[in-house]
Amino acid sequence: MKVRVYVSLKNGVLDPQGRAIHHAIEGLGIHGVNDVRAGKMIELEVDPSVTDGQLEEMASKLLANMVIENYRIERLAA
């Protein structure tokens, strides 16, 4: 089964990378983009026996740094 963990910076945490991407989008001549925040998506292939609790544990203890980041777990249909 496929699981996706989306990791994003918390509100209020400065995202210089997102700001640079925003700048580059404006360089494409496309207007109307008001803000850009960059994050990451981690895809896991797991046995059905892996519990939601274990996914929460890996996300909160390793995949995201809870000081600066939030995460969202998405289980995909097999």
Partner: protein
């Protein structure tokens, strides 16, 4: 009495030799060199150093992998028993990732890798790492990092400032760090993380000796104990 220190090397560490060299020249005793995969530290250590570099290629986040390596369990246990632990640059990132120090190191606000000598001010000269400096003394120490932008929420920043746990501040714009914080102590005062590299400023040939007092302070603290 011989100063028993250890320098931890992770895959991708690149300042471990400089750190070992500084410790040997200043303490007179060669440090133990410890590999990240070791499960145990040498016994009766007086000092543990986590060096700079790019451990595990900065995969996931700077310091995230190293913080979960086998040897870090032993370092955390030693730190909790009061053994002095110094983390420089990537070592500071490892200390925040391992939970030994509060906050996190974000990408530099200017997005650029910053590699130059910077002026620091000594905010706390009462710690075992900083007693050899004067309060408010300005010193020159090099930085070389991409992720040195110290972040913590306001409540945490207020707390560590109130407890005198900011050891060093930048005396100039460097990386966008919250409240110009360059180095942070843990609550007990035996763990220090800092982005600047004191081990690169111990001999005149390196352009200055402002880093020496940090190591001398730790050695003196042990001798006085």
């Amino acid at each position: 009495m011989s100063f028993r220190s250890a320098v931890i090397t992770f895959p991708g560490s690149n300042c471990d030799r400089d750190m070992a060299d500084a410790l040997e020249k200043i303490s007179g005793a060669a440090p133990h060199r410890v590999w990240h995969g070791d499960a145990e530290l040498p016994e009766r250590l007086d000092f543990i150093a986590l060096p700079g570099g790019f451990s595990y290629g900065d995969y996931l986040r700077s310091g995230a992998m190293a913080a979960r390596s086998p040897i870090m369990q032993a370092v955390i246990a030693a730190a909790n028993k009061g053994v002095p632990v110094l983390g420089v640059c990537n070592g500071f990132q490892v200390l925040t990732e391992s939970g030994l120090l509060p906050g996190a190191l974000l990408r530099n606000a200017g997005m650029n890798f910053v590699c130059r000598e910077v002026r620091l001010s000594v905010s706390n000269n009462q710690s075992l790492f900083t007693s050899g400096y004067d309060a408010g003394e300005e010193i020159l120490i090099p930085v070389a990092h991409h992720d040195g932008n110290y972040f913590a929420d306001d409540a945490t920043l207020d707390r560590i400032e109130g407890e005198g746990r900011v050891a060093f501040r930048y005396a100039e714009q460097v990386n966008g760090s919250a409240r110009d914080i360059a180095g942070v102590l843990n609550a007990a005062g035996n763990v220090l993380g800092m982005m600047p590299h004191p081990e690169r400023m111990i001999e005149r040939e390196q352009g200055g000796t402002d880093g020496r007092a940090l190591f001398e302070s730790a050695i003196k603290a042990l001798a006085d104990a």
